[in-house]
Amino acid sequence: MKRSLAVGAALAAALAWGATRADVPSEVPGVAPAPPLSPHWVFLTDAAFFHLTEGKIVVVDGDQGKVVAKLSTGYLANSLISPDGKRLYVAETFWSRGTRGERTDVVTVYDMTTFLPVAEVRLPGRFLAVTQPYNMGLSADGRFLFLFNMTPATSVVVVDIEAGTVVGEISTPGCALVLPGKDKFVMPCGDGTFLQVTLDAAGRETSRGRTPKPVFDVDADPVSERPATTGTGYAFTTYGGMVHEVNLSGGDPVYAAPWSLTSAEEAAAGWRPGGWEQVAYSPHTNELFVSMHQGGPGTHELPGPEIWVYSLADKKKVRVIKPVEPVISIAVSRDDKPIVAAITETLALSVMDAASGAETVNLPGLLELGLVLETP
């Protein structure tokens, strides 16, 4: 250590002399602040299938095509951005010795101006599965975080993220995932019904109910577990190509009659939705974007060579986007100049103009198993 101090002093002397004739000014190394959140930022959650205990969240500026930050996560993390854009919530799992030892489940709260963790809430458990968005949800006011759990008994953990406390764990036998609405959440169940759980202002269950009969036929044509979040609730695609919309904007949830993504001819040609996050919604245009491919039963995760765009008002296809290569997951920004962000089958991030479909950014090599896309 003595040596390094001596060196430092000598260096400072050398620099003081050198600085007088420098063309490039001296710089003080530091840490860059995060740029202000843009509606065109894309958050990619990479489960890193070959190193599951060191996952990543890659934040990309979808306009500039540049990495904003890369955050390491624990095992099979989920993340959500707070409604005010000031916080990033990451649910993650660690073991005290990497892949063994004591298990710890937490929600880590990041400050979006520094991307540093500022708080942590310990969880009683969380669902461990290939990362998908509806493992975790946030109440509309941003106060409660809901985390699906499976042990394999199923439940929802309610966290008061403002207070930093776990409110409780709500048993939800036979039902999975968590889709928040106003003062409640709903969950699809194994028999095709939906469970709804209503909460009070403290996040505690006040009542629950199941739809009196199945909303969809779980054997013939199940809904995908990764719907789009629409202006009023959720739009689920089915394996076969129907859309089930759930309206959670009022009191009791309203389950609309399903409509078809395909004409009889298109269906006969095998067109159906596929991929991971296969459907996304643009609030600005009230359009639904669906990753479509031609295939049969069991192809519900095949990447889509086309993205079909529907007017949600008319339930009609309005245009087709042809991405540069088939897409696994898609997300659409919520602003008035929407972009489509897609993870392609080669795990590149492709950003397209939502209106024209023209690709504006293509970033290969970012991801190992980047399955989940979010925009603020």
Binding site: T93, T99, Q132, P152, P222, I328
Partner: protein, 166 residues
């Protein structure tokens, strides 16, 4: 029983397809049956050798027992087709499939047990999605980490043990 019939019917999957490493649809998972209930049956504890009755290469995804497989083949990771590699722990909460043995043209019930407690083996990824259902019907979902019966939930690889004929 109708539930079981439904499963078995659904899980008769024909030929498994091999998935490239770069496939983003790489999956974990299995689903559940109480394997601990089975040991009343006659058991072969010797390591499996290829026989006329059990043909094929268990280190390849097209081996007949892997018709409903999802994950890394333990046979590439120090395990056998019925035993987890040393250094891991076997989950007894498993997913099962029904696979056709080409040698005797019979359907066998295969227990796909996850081996857990180490990070991903990373070798011999093998994956099918025929008959898979969303996570709200977990018995047929293969995205879930089915390590519930193991010492911990860190997924390493998956075996395919014969439970009996279907």
């Amino acid at each position: 029983m109708s539930l079981i019939d439904g499963w078995f019917e659904k899980s008769a999957r024909g030929v498994a397809r091999r998935v490239s490493r770069r496939s983003a649809m790489a999956r974990l998972g299995q689903f559940l049956v109480g394997a601990a209930l089975v040991p009343v049956l006659p058991i072969d504890r010797a390591p499996r050798a290829e026989t006329a009755a059990d043909p094929g290469d268990p280190t390849q995804c097209d081996y007949w027992r892997y018709c409903g497989f999802d994950g890394f083949l333990c046979t590439c990771c120090g395990g056998s087709v019925s035993h987890c590699p040393p250094g891991t722990s076997v989950s007894n909460v498993t997913w099962i499939g029904t696979c056709l043995n080409p040698a005797d043209n019979k359907n066998y019930i295969i227990s796909y047990n996850d081996c857990c407690g180490q990070g991903s083996c990373g070798l011999c990824l093998c994956n099918t999605n025929q008959g898979e259902t969303p996570v709200y019907r977990p018995q047929l979902n293969n995205d879930i980490v089915w390590c519930f019966g193991a010492t911990n939930m860190s997924y390493h690889c998956t075996i395919g043990a014969v439970l009996g004929t279907a």
